[in-house]
């Protein structure tokens, strides 16, 4: 218990690419602020990158008290080795009580390596965080959302990764003190190297970060019919998703798959078109804030999870909905 007396502070690991923050960074700081206020502790943020000192203060806008910055060319693009080594070194020195990361592609890779380096425990992909008896209680979906687990980490730091798009980014301005630290890096420690970054040129937000998703399933009947889904997505500024059935049929690429063996998404609005709602699909989108189901089968299980449902032929409804949304947003 001596360790718990010493461990203090709610920390986050910020995420940025080439000097631009990922939205999850602000969600993390906001979530940390809430916990820190309950504990009467400070919010610390770790920011690693190349040429990023200028953006460090921005985390103060969401409630960071201190931002620990290490600026080094070896941090960009992200590699596990460079980031995990630098963070583990700082965390061991400073001993925060709680350490939060995003359950993003980078955060998942990094946080789990840190579990090993810091010899601690972590709750992955959390949807709620509470303080109970001075300890972090992390709520996370398990069995792909078929149940929830409340996780308690008994070592320090108590780690949790947060599902993107679930925790609101709330402005809560503090004047963040920027503290530079020496990551103690040496290029020979890096065993992996990013050779190429192939950017998605669709201009669409990734499914895991999208505010609105329009998804099509088996009811789309073929790849050529996705044009009506794309048109609706365009007027809504949404990203297009698909069910496993549609991906397995080769109608949509693997990266579009939402579900237990695809992506887990939490948009504000999820519109499921011609998706029956197999348990495997519900697992991937169950934490969406609003769910709309359009399906001609009134018994489709998706309706049990939908906030709004239309029992009708999607080929009639979707184009009409596109027209109506266009009118509303005009």
């Amino acid at each position: 218990m001596e360790e718990s007396k010493m461990a203090k502070g709610v920390w986050i690991v910020a995420e940025q690419r080439y000097g631009a923050y990922r939205k999850i960074s602000f969600e993390l700081v906001s979530a940390a602020r809430k916990l820190a206020d309950q504990l009467g502790e400070e919010v610390g943020a770790i920011l690693l990158g190349s040429g990023i000192e200028g953006i460090a203060g921005e985390l103060g806008k969401y409630g960071a008290d201190k931002v620990y910055v290490a600026d080094n060319a070896l941090f960009e693009p992200y590699t596990t080795d460079a980031h995990a080594a630098a963070i583990a070194k700082l965390v061991k020195e400073q001993n925060p009580s709680i350490l939060l990361l995003g359950a993003s592609a980078q955060g998942k890779d990094l946080s789990s390596r840190l579990v090993g380096k810091l010899a601690t425990g972590m709750a992955t992909d959390c949807v709620d965080l509470k303080i109970a008896d001075g300890k972090l209680l992390s709520v996370r979906p398990m069995y792909a959302g078929k149940c929830n687990g409340e996780v308690v980490v008994s070592s320090f730091p108590q780690m949790a990764s947060l599902r993107p798009n679930v925790f609101p980014a709330v402005e809560n301005p503090k004047t963040a003190e920027v503290v530079k630290f020496d990551p103690g890096l040496d290029a020979s420690q890096l065993k992996t190297k990013v050779l190429e970054v192939q950017k998605d040129t669709s201009g669409k937000v990734d499914l895991t970060e999208a505010n609105i998703i329009v998804s099509g399933g088996r009811g789309m009947k073929g790849p050529e019919n996705y044009v009506i889904i794309e048109e609706l997505a365009d007027v809504l500024g949404a990203t297009v998703g698909a069910s496993r059935a549609a991906v397995d049929a080769g109608w949509r690429p693997q990266k579009d798959q939402v579900g237990q063996t695809g992506k887990v998404v939490s948009p504000n609005l999820y519109i499921a078109c011609g998706i029956s709602g197999a348990i495997q699909h519900l697992a991937g989108m169950g934490s969406s804030k609003y769910i709309v189901a359009i399906n001609k089968d009134p018994d489709a299980p998706i309706f049990a999870r939908a906030d709004y449902g239309i029992v009708d032929d999607l080929f009639k409804i979707v184009p009409e909905l596109t027209k109506e949304v266009k009118k509303l947003l005009a």
Binding site: T80, D81, A84, A105, D109, S112, R113, V115, G116, K117, A119, T120, G121, M122, T124, D125, L137, R140, M142, Y143, K146, C147, N148, G149, V151, V152, V153, S155, K191, T192, V194, L195, E196, V197, Q198, D200, D206, T208, I212, Q254, K255, Q260, T261, G262, L269, A278, Q280, K289, I291, R305, A306, D307, Y308, G309, I310, E320, L321, K323, E324, V325
Partner: protein, 256 residues
């Protein structure tokens, strides 16, 4: 090229999960157990590499007695031997301890690549591969959808939000498999017959020289939060229904 693939036995994706009334976990009665789908990609990739470069494929699994079926499935697909880590102290243990057990078992065998699924679809924790890599002091490449061996290193494709990365890693290394990596084969009948005779070593924590020291626990398991009942939008014409839906999304839900 010697390869290790870690596998876990999990409930089938279509299984209904019932939470025990006291919140102490899930009710295992009636569950159909299968190999974690992401681990299947790891087994398949290991077998493809073995076919190309030769060497041994060893399957390692932590789990109760029933987990042996999953090891046998991988052996029937074509893997050479298995290590079954079975110890009550490791049941439901956190990633740190499971990875410590795997590392202890793997340390004694030669390996160039270790495959793990990117996560197991039961606890969805997704930590094992990286923690294992840390314990073995080797690099990791996670969520891999394509892999090529080039001399003493590998090149892999890793999708991230809005981009695909091509990453080079030295060997040995841990690779976590993502859907898209390959199409796992089915075990053939002769494969199933042969698997029965393939060696499976059974170990417990003491035999591996490790002590389980819990770092995290699931204090309570709860049913998912209930969603308020939804609204079915009625109307004569598709246009009318669509208009009503657009209005509700704008004015009631305020999401567009």
């Amino acid at each position: 090229m010697n390869i290790v693939t870690c596998v876990k036995q999990v409930p089938d994706t279509e299984t209904l999960i019932k939470v025990k009334p006291d919140g102490s976990g899930i009710d295992e009665a009636g569950i159909k157990w299968v190999m974690n789908p992401y681990d299947e990609f790891g087994v398949e990739e290991a077998l493809k590499l073995k076919e190309k470069f030769g060497g041994d494929v060893t399957i390692v699994s932590v789990g109760p007695a029933r987990a042996l079926e999953t090891i046998r499935t991988a052996l029937a697909m074509g893997a050479d031997k298995g290590i079954h880590i079975n110890d009550p102290a490791l049941e439901g243990a956190d990633a740190y301890n499971i990875a410590a057990a795997l590392a202890a078992a793997i340390k004694g065998i030669p390996y160039d690549i270790i495959f793990c699924g990117q996560r197991a679809i039961d606890d969805d924790s997704g930590q094992i591969g990286s923690v294992l890599a840390e314990f073995l002091g080797i690099p990791q490449v996670t969520f891999v959808t394509k892999l090529d061996v080039e001399g003493a290193s590998i090149k892999v494709v890793r999708p991230i939000e809005g981009a695909q990365l091509l990453i080079e890693s030295s060997l040995p290394c841990v690779v976590t498999a993502q859907k898209g990596l390959n199409e796992p084969r089915y075990a053939s009948l002769p494969g199933i017959m042969k698997a029965k005779k393939k060696p499976v070593d059974v170990k417990d924590a003491a035999g591996l020289g490790i002590t389980v020291t819990p770092k995290a626990k699931i204090a309570k398991t709860l049913p998912p939060p209930a969603r308020p009942p939804g609204k079915i939008i009625c109307g004569e014409e598709p246009a009318e229904k669509a208009r009503e839906l657009a209005k509700l999304l704008r004015e009631e839900a305020k999401v567009i």
